[in-house]
Subunit: 223 residues, 2 copies
DNA sequence: GTCCCCGTAATGCTGCCGCAATCTTCGCGG
DNA sequence: CCGCGAAGATTGCGGCAGCATTACGGGGAC
């Protein structure tokens, strides 16, 4: 397996390359987006690890560029920019996963496996479910082109579910989508959000149902 | 509308910023290419005005660097180097227009409009919302073809919202649309503008509502 | 001078959201 | 088919962050 690592902190890059090589993974490393683009044209990678803050630009801009060339190689963003809205931003421009620094190599490996397991995902910038269109990049939701404004947390939950519609989203995944590291919660706050979100979607006639999978997570699908 | 001006003659830069602000244009100014690069990473500009002879290099080298990051922001070169061959050179590296010094501000404005008109999707010439027509390029607003003159900052807020009507505009995006780098604000100035703008739109019977999405931003839609 | 834009700050209010109490649903074992 | 425990659903409450509004005053334009 062969990865492309785009990361300008040399220490981290070296450490990561070493760790991955123990799992039999070959890593190409570059520090600049311009070089990365060239490399993806010349080689075929199984996945790409991408930092956001790079010497020649915001790493995220790389993803649409890559997709535009028809490449659907999975991209995992590795970054210190780990606020919920930042994660939404990253995933919405087409990243397949988003991992905040610092992270454990084991977690990276797990996410890598998960990403490679996935069927090639279409990079939809808008998600249509039922009568609803979700544009998470612009943080807007419309039902039959009438805008529906949702509170921030409910919006994040909805976007996370819609991204994987018809598939179960783990409870922990949802929590990660809504809360960052400092904001720990000790209650059923997530359940409360789901409940209030359901009510709002019902009132708006969204044509969407959020199902619970007991002990696992939630699943969004059309009614 | 927001421009980046890369120019090392401070007098000219100040004069130009002043003149442009009368057209409702917010200008960020820098004298060095390195800073310019940083600024384009952090902000989204409608266009870039670029001098050739700069303290840290030939301005033209900036254009390929910029394009390589996937940015297609229009660039207008402003320079004393105005020989035909020099103009060809400039346009061939990707400049959208090339204007020799000295020049009239009116000509610059006209060329700016021409350049911004090119991709029709990005910059619509007129936006109709409710009973109101907004022309963000000329910064004119009419209600049932009666002109409505708004203070500059309120106009900028309105234009930024209208460009993305029915979609949430982040608070930070609005701030960026109204204020440049030097003009820092430490208060709820933006909120105040919104409030005063709402009142004016109501008085004019514009048929427009500006909604707040708590913790995210604002959204403009028809009533 | 006079007008008005606009930043500031004080004031009041809205509604998000964490929490917890209570009720409901689910799945399992007998 | 029933009972039971655990997980989830729902809802009211309260704190408080974020927003709306407005008065005030400096400052620039004319």
């Amino acid at each position: 397996m062969r990865l492309l690592l785009i990361e300008d902190e040399r220490e981290l890059a070296d450490a990561l390359s070493g760790a991955l090589s123990k799992h039999g993974i070959v890593t190409d490393h570059t520090t600049h987006l311009a070089d990365a683009f060239e490399l993806t044209r010349q080689n075929s990678y199984d996945a790409i690890l991408l930092d956001r803050r790079l010497p020649d630009g915001e790493g995220l801009t790389f993803i649409p560029m890559l997709r535009r060339t028809g490449t659907d190689t999975p991209v995992i963003v590795l970054t210190a920019r780990n606020e919920p809205l930042e994660r939404v931003e990253g995933l919405d421009v087409g990243a397949d996963d988003y991992l905040g620094k610092p992270f454990l190599v084991d977690e990276l490996m797990a996410r890598l496996r998960a990403v490679l397991r996935r069927p090639p995902s279409l990079t939809e910038l808008q998600i249509t479910v039922g009568r609803m269109v979700i544009d998470p990049l612009h943080l807007s939701v419309t039902v039959e082109s009438i805008p529906l404004d949702l509170p921030r947390r409910e919006l994040l939950v909805l976007a996370a579910l819609a991204k994987r519609k018809d598939k179960t989203v783990l409870r922990s995944t949802l929590e990660a989508a809504v809360y960052n590291y400092e904001e720990e919660i000790q209650s059923n706050a997530l359940d409360a959000h789901i409940s209030r979100l359901r009510k709002r979607l019902l009132d708006a006639g969204a044509g969407i149902a959020i199902h619970n999978i007991r002990g696992v997570g939630y699943l969004l699908k059309e009614e």
